[in-house]
């Protein structure tokens, strides 16, 4: 088996992983950094982000205001010490990217342009046309090439962490191109493996977003926090789930039901704003969870339309005109034409909610440290405490940068101080993994990977969707247990070594099932409604701060089930208030005090 000694291993080549690797390389050029990713870094899911990245930028904006929007958006479940740190460091990180060459969109005087984004009171979202994630990822990837300290392991799939007595010692990976097992040893490991949207049936996520890192950590006793909070994006394309960015609504796009009525005004987001005059926090610029929930209500009333068997509402951009659309939303025009055969300048785009973002993840403190010594987590796979019950659009790209830097620097510090662990300590763990892998090959009689995976995604969609209740979630949990039993009997039918994608999909499904189980168990435990977690059971329809101003902390028990503990939320300056949008917001005094 190939064995390599490094100082730091970064698992994940998305925005978070690349930012961390660069930060570590800047600490010391002699540090050995392994950047391990199951796809080439520029294929990572960050590439798909369209809308933008938030930071307080203009003179009429303030850190307090960004802080308030984030905390209120989180339905008061964000850790306020973390939000404070975040808003303070956001701007400098976006400037750093600018200094590395990111082609941010500009105003005519050459300064950076900012745009509106749902849930944000002020224009503070930086963007690069409608390919913000693409440009951030490529800027980071290209910048990373200038640091010889960063050694890339492209298309290496991490299947286990090496841990000795609560001390991380490295990772075990499969080299996709040859099927070889590789042992990478290091003193710090940073998990930056992205979210888990693919455990749901309708989602906006890339195929690789399968929750691997969360499950890797969970299996070694690290807690996953706030897993019940899964964000639906109100505007995905029917069928594929491909995202139509919120920026469409920022530019003035409106949402119509099948009768052409702007239904959002019926759900506390009004009054109706005039066409072409979008207003922050009103109507279409309300927060995502409210918009997705309004879709569900409309569907129940029979007011949604139909697109090839999928219930839909319509995103109308026609009034923006062809020229403006091509200039400001070129990608959206392309996507609509390609995937639903619609020209947005002429016809409204059919859309429906789809799972978009996992707010929860690997529990860390504000320094990105997990409960295992030397193990860090960042980006969408982590729960640093920023998003609480609902993430605001454009906070997460900035999160990758702010906390990527923190983790890179901390991990470098740790690696420089620590001594390596003798590798005899994990010889048994590796032998076990090798044996388990060898035993995977075989033939399936009447079950298949696809059947189990589809079972999981449908169970999650039905049981843990936009609205949830006890009965539905109990059923979902039972289904997941059954699916898990079926999973343990599944074999990998491709016995080849070179680019065996059946093997990787098998391992990803195992990770996904673990994550799905924690989402469902955490959701069952939270018997209130908050942010993205909405319950229809009697007496659970509203937020209950008396009991639930707390994070769920999910840990794996000896028998494989998930146990839930609670952790209080950090409140520094903004006591819980009401989350109000539309006109209801103008009388909100909590905001004035913040």
């Amino acid at each position: 088996m190939l064995q390599l000694d490094m100082d730091i291993i970064v698992v994940g080549g998305g925005g978070a992983g690349l930012r961390a690797a660069i930060a570590a390389a800047e600490v010391s050029p002699s540090i050995k950094i392994a950047l391990v990713s199951k796809v080439y870094p520029m294929r990572s899911h960050t590439v798909a982000a369209e809308g933008g990245a938030a930071a307080v930028t203009s003179d009429d904006d303030s850190l307090q205001s960004h802080f308030y929007d984030t905390v209120a958006g989180s339905d008061w479940l964000a850790d306020q010490n973390v939000v404070e740190f975040f808003v303070q460091h956001a701007y400098q990180e976006l400037v750093q990217l600018e200094r590395w060459g990111c082609p941010w969109s500009r105003k005519s005087d050459g300064t950076v342009q900012v745009r509106r984004f749902g849930g944000m009171k002020t224009e503070r979202t930086w963007f690069a046309a409608d390919k913000t994630g693409f440009h951030i990822l490529h800027t980071l990837f290209q910048t990373s090439l200038k640091y010889p300290a960063i050694k890339r392991f492209d298309e290496y799939f991490v299947l286990d962490l090496l841990v000795v007595e609560q001390q991380v010692a490295g990772v075990l990976a499969i080299r996709y191109s040859t099927g070889e097992l590789v042992q990478l040893r290091a003193k710090s490991v940073i998990l930056a493996t992205g979210g888990a949207g693919r455990v749901f049936h309708y989602n906006t996520n890339s195929g690789i977003v399968t929750g691997d890192g969360m499950a890797l950590a969970l299996r070694h006793g690290v807690a996953l926090r706030d897993m019940e909070f899964v964000q639906y994006h109100p505007t995905g394309l029917p069928g594929s789930g491909i995202l139509i960015t919120e920026a469409c609504r920022g530019e003035g796009g409106i949402l119509l039901n099948k009768d052409g009525y702007r239904y959002l005004q019926d759900y506390g987001l009004g009054p109706e704003t005039p066409l072409g005059e979008p207003r922050n926090k009103y109507m279409e610029l309300g927060p995502r969870d409210r918009l997705s929930q309004a879709f569900w209500q409309q569907q129940k009333l029979g007011l949604t339309g139909d697109y090839q068997g999928h219930a839909v509402v319509y995103l109308d951009l026609r009034h923006l005109g062809e020229k403006h659309l091509n200039e400001r939303l070129p990608l959206i025009c392309e996507l609509a034409k390609d995937y639903v055969n619609v020209d947005p300048a002429k016809t409204p785009i059919p859309i429906r909610p789809a799972v978009h973002y996992t707010m929860g993840g690997i529990m860390t403190n504000v320094d990105c440290e997990t409960s295992i010594n030397g193990l860090f987590a960042i980006g969408e796979c982590a729960s640093v405490g920023l998003h609480g019950a609902n993430r605001l659009g454009s906070n997460s790209l900035t999160e990758l940068l702010v906390f990527g830097k923190v983790a890179g620097e901390k991990a470098a510090g740790t690696a420089l101080q620590k001594n390596g662990i003798s590798h005899h300590a994990f010889a048994t763990q590796i032998a076990e993994q090798e044996a388990a892998l060898a035993a995977l090959h075989g033939h399936n009689s009447d079950d298949s990977l696809v059947a189990v995976r589809t079972g999981m995604t449908l169970a999650m969609e039905q049981g843990c969707g936009i609205y949830r209740d006890e009965e539905g979630m109990q059923r979902c949990l039972e289904q997941l247990h059954e699916l898990n039993t079926r999973y343990t009997q599944l074999k990998v039918v491709d016995h080849g070594k070179v680019y065996n994608s059946a093997l990787l999909q098998h391992l990803e499904l195992g990770f996904g099932l673990d994550v799905a189980m924690t989402i469902c168990s955490s959701a069952l435990a939270r018997t209130e409604s908050r942010g993205a977690h909405q319950r229809t059971d009697d007496g659970m329809g509203t937020r209950n701060d008396g009991e639930f101003l707390q994070h769920t902390v999910a840990v794996r028990q000896v028998d494989g089930s998930v146990g839930i503990h609670w952790q209080p939320v950090s409140v520094t300056s903004l006591p819980p208030g009401q989350r109000l949008y539309g006109d209801a917001n103008t009388s909100n005094t909590a905001e004035d005090k913040s």
Binding site: V39, Y40, M42, R43, S44, H45, V47, A48, Q92, V95, E98, R99, W100, G101, P103, W104, S105, R106, K107, S108, D109, G110, T111, V112, K131, F134, H135, H138, Q142, T143, L145, K146, D154, S177, S206, G207, I208, G239, S240, I242, L243, Q308, L331, E334, L335, D338, Y339, V340, N341, L449, V450, V493, D494, G496, K497, V498, Y499, S501, A502, Q505
Partner: protein, 241 residues
Amino acid sequence: MTSRNIGIMRYNPEQDKKPHTESYQVEADDNTSVLDALQQVQQQDPSLSFRWSCRMAICGSCGVMVNSVPKLGCQTFLRDYPDSLVISPLSNFAVEKDLIVDMEPFLEHLSAIKPWLINSEQSTVPHVQTPQQLARYQQFANCINCGLCYSACPQFGLNPEFRGPAALALAHRYNLDSRDLGKAERMPQLNAKDGVWTCTFVGFCSEVCPKKVDPAAAINQGKVESAKDMILSVFKSSGVR
């Protein structure tokens, strides 16, 4: 949904001496992409390997030849190929397995041209860059590294050392950026034997590019820069200024 036939080039290095085409049945409607079709086939035969991720034409993973033309699988639709449809791996790269090719040469060319902003000034404020200055290079910054242009390029086919369309376009992107001071460092790569002058301006690279990067235009402009640069260096070395 109607049922139809497609051909896929298969190659398993552990079993096959050379690639061969196999035929498969898939269900297709107006929105079925080549990638969707490949996924259907993979459900029938899990040993089929191909790359994909975003399924929305932005990650650059899924390049394949569709009836011998380089295409993104996720952005190519069966509706446009009513007759026959054969999917094979990208040309001009070594085939590793089925539709997966060796992308390492591409990555090496990309890294070789120093694709990062070269400017040592330290500052905590953004550069000023007008929309006009941005527009000069923006198109060349839209490359998704899919490699289709390398499959289309006859010169890269003949000489794998040729830096190739995407790498040269990326060099040009940074050279045109008002914030960059690294042109002098990149010019030797462009002037070199495997730089811009290898291109014979066939232009097929720009035709197949799914993101309208127009690498051929970048290379052509690069030739002008390269010519200027070489004339200057002749003057410099002969002491004329």
